[in-house]
């Protein structure tokens, strides 16, 4: 139960403790002041990003820049007045008009969502199965397997970039969803974490189910997975964030425009349009790419901090 014990106090965090006197309290607030000021450096760049999205191209090119959009507009998402035949510097393509791909930017949103979901679900299933065997089955060689997996966590993934590319080619998977998903399923860190978590749980429930005649698959599905829930929640956060931001691997395996994920699509935008007037649409793309993960965070905030704490104190 070590894991649960170390994290449990977070939920009941009671500090700062009963007030130790007025002067000390003022001192503490004074000590916090620089950190409140530091938070400005958080707010300002984000604010800059957001207002950029709502400025017109003309306003974006103006110096000095404005800090409140003069005539807020959604044109950077979709500009109805833009036309490829009639060029007008006041009307540039919105982010949804920039990609010559069916469904435009939506396609990349879909790709990223689909790939991230598939990898998260798939790897949690596969890793939890293996973790169950390693932690709770008494089979020979599990120690060796586990050691090998731990050792592999120390390998920077860039090492396998080229060989994996050749494998994708041999399988005929280039430019397809399997190339995104399949190599990303066996995650050593997830397995390691789940094994650690399972080892800290008592065997009684599993034993009882075995006595009742339940099969191993059934035990995994009805007992192990529910027991693992906090660990699975923690891991899903890591997987989602990592896959959502994945860049170098997609950059290499994607050949056609429509198979790009959001980071690759955004990087392409950046390389082609450099001027300040295009920044509105680029930032609009960045904002859209961030909305799903930020929403995910705001909804599951509790699990985020707990999950990170769990990994930090135990990983």
């Amino acid at each position: 139960m070590a894991v649960l014990e170390t994290v449990a106090p977070v939920r009941h965090a009671r500090r700062p403790a009963p007030a130790p006197g007025r002067r000390a309290r003022i001192n503490r607030h004074l000590l916090r002041l620089p950190f409140y000021l530091l938070s400005l450096t958080m707010v300002v760049p984000f604010y800059w990003l957001v207002i950029t999205v709502f400025k017109t191209p003309t306003e974006l090119a103006r110096t000095p820049p404005s800090f409140v959009p003069h005539s807020p507009t959604f044109d950077n998402f979709y500009d109805p007045d833009w036309s490829p035949r009639h060029i007008d510097p006041g009307h540039l393509q919105g982010i949804f008009q920039r990609f010559q791909v069916d469904f435009g930017f939506w396609r990349f949103l879909f790709n990223s969502l689909f790939i991230t979901t598939a990898i998260t679900v798939g790897s949690l299933l596969i890793c939890s199965l293996a973790a169950y065997v390693i932690a709770k089955h008494d089979i020979r060689g599990r120690r060796v397997i586990f050691l090998m997996i731990i050792a592999s966590m120390m390998v920077p993934w860039q090492t396998t970039l080229i060989p994996n590319y050749v494998i994708m080619r041999n399988l005929g998977w280039l430019d397809s969803y399997p190339a995104y998903i399949v190599p990303a399923l066996a995650k050593a860190f997830v397995l390691f974490f789940l094994v650690q978590f399972l080892q800290s749980l008592p065997n009684e429930l599993i034993q009882a189910a075995r006595v009742d005649g339940a099969g191993e698959w059934r035990i995994w599905w009805t007992i192990v997975l529910p027991l693992l829930r906090p660990a699975l929640a923690a891991m899903s956060i890591f997987i989602v964030l990592a896959e959502w931001n994945n860049f170098l691997w997609p950059l290499i395996i994607v050949q056609s425009d429509e198979m790009a994920n959001l980071p690759v699509a955004l990087a392409r935008l950046n390389s082609y349009f450099a001027g300040p007037d295009h920044q509105g649409a680029i930032m609009a793309g960045g904002l859209l790419a961030s909305v799903p993960t930020i929403a995910f965070f705001l909804v599951f905030q509790k699990y985020f901090t707990r999950g990170i704490a769990l990994s930090g104190l135990k990983g």
Partner: protein, 307 residues
């Protein structure tokens, strides 16, 4: 499995069923693990001893790549740059994470808002953040950074084309984006310190500073180890910040290679110079660095437990 066989039929069958199922449950993971990690790893190890241009068959050259790396001034420069970046970003990031955690570990709403705010970069699309920085640091007067400089009477600064500013900007970007994450870890660590320790210390008349020195800091040591070591490992692998923000047409590492790091150099050698064998050798140097760091992590972690 065969060696589990016993003369009795029914234990044999049950053993077979048990171990058969176990193996079957392990199979998906092991197959994928072997196919997309072990096998490619072995491949890249082999490649690091060859000259391989990606098109013609690899040609075995023994230790040539590693010998060449030892005398490669650009690689040394990349190592030095990376070391500087790693030390600065991890040092500064850890200090600020701890400071933030101490400042905002309560449950009141200002604290929660502050925590959320500092954590926000961790859940924002990382490419979006790079593009944001590129826009903030835009070279002419339309950029935010130059506007601020202008308020203080300065001239527009070529942020991304001034070699001396490259590593500081990379450090800033990394600290800015990462301190909220470390803060969350530290807040959890603080929460696990029993309040009784502080009460006892106060009864003994210990000052706030003494409480921090004698209770908080030592008890946070495992968290610090984790924050520092994972920070180091991540920082050694920095790529996107250099690639998106600083890369020019002919220089992967920015002006005068001022932002050249290990992984961007690996990418440069492998993907713009056709030296996949050489790039694999670089990857294995990175491997050794990170392996050693991880061992230090394990060793320290064990030492902590024994304390």
């Amino acid at each position: 499995m065969a060696d589990m066989a016993t003369p009795a039929a029914s234990p044999l069958r049950s053993a077979l069923r048990r171990y058969g199922t176990s193996s079957l449950m392990l199979l998906p993971f092991l197959a994928l693990f072997a196919g997309f990690l072990l096998w490619p790893l072995a491949n890249s190890l082999f490649l690091s001893f060859t000259r391989f241009d990606g098109i013609n068959p690899a040609e075995f050259t023994g230790l040539d790549n590693f010998r060449q790396l030892a005398g490669d001034a650009r690689f040394r420069h990349a190592l030095g740059n990376t070391a500087l970046y790693v030390v600065a970003s991890v040092g500064l990031g850890t200090l600020l994470s701890l400071g933030l955690a101490l400042a905002f570990n309560g449950t009141s709403w200002p604290h929660r808002i502050m925590r959320t705010l500092f954590f926000l970069p961790s859940v924002t699309s990382s490419i979006a953040l790079m593009l944001m920085w590129k826009w903030v640091l835009f070279p002419s007067d339309v950029g935010l950074a130059n506007t601020v400089v202008g308020w203080f009477g300065g001239h527009a600064v070529a942020w991304l084309a001034t070699p001396g500013l490259t590593v500081p900007i990379l450090v800033l970007m990394s600290v800015w984006g990462g301190m909220g994450y470390g803060m969350v870890l530290y807040v959890a660590g603080l929460g696990s310190i029993p309040e009784e320790y502080y009460e006892a210390a106060r009864i003994d008349g210990a000052s706030v500073w003494q409480q921090f020195r004698r209770i908080t800091l030592p008890l946070l040591r495992p968290v610090t180890t984790y924050v520092v070591v994972t920070g180091l490992i991540g920082a050694f692998q920095v790529f996107e910040a250099v690639y998106i923000v600083f890369r020019g047409t002919n220089n992967v590492g920015g002006v005068l290679d001022s932002g050249l790091m290990i992984v961007p150099y690996l990418y440069d050698q492998g993907f713009t110079h056709f030296k996949l064998g050489y790039a694999s050798a670089i990857a294995w140097v990175l491997f050794v660095i990170i392996f050693v760091l991880s061992l230090v992590n394990l060793r320290l972690g064990r030492a902590m437990k024994e304390l």
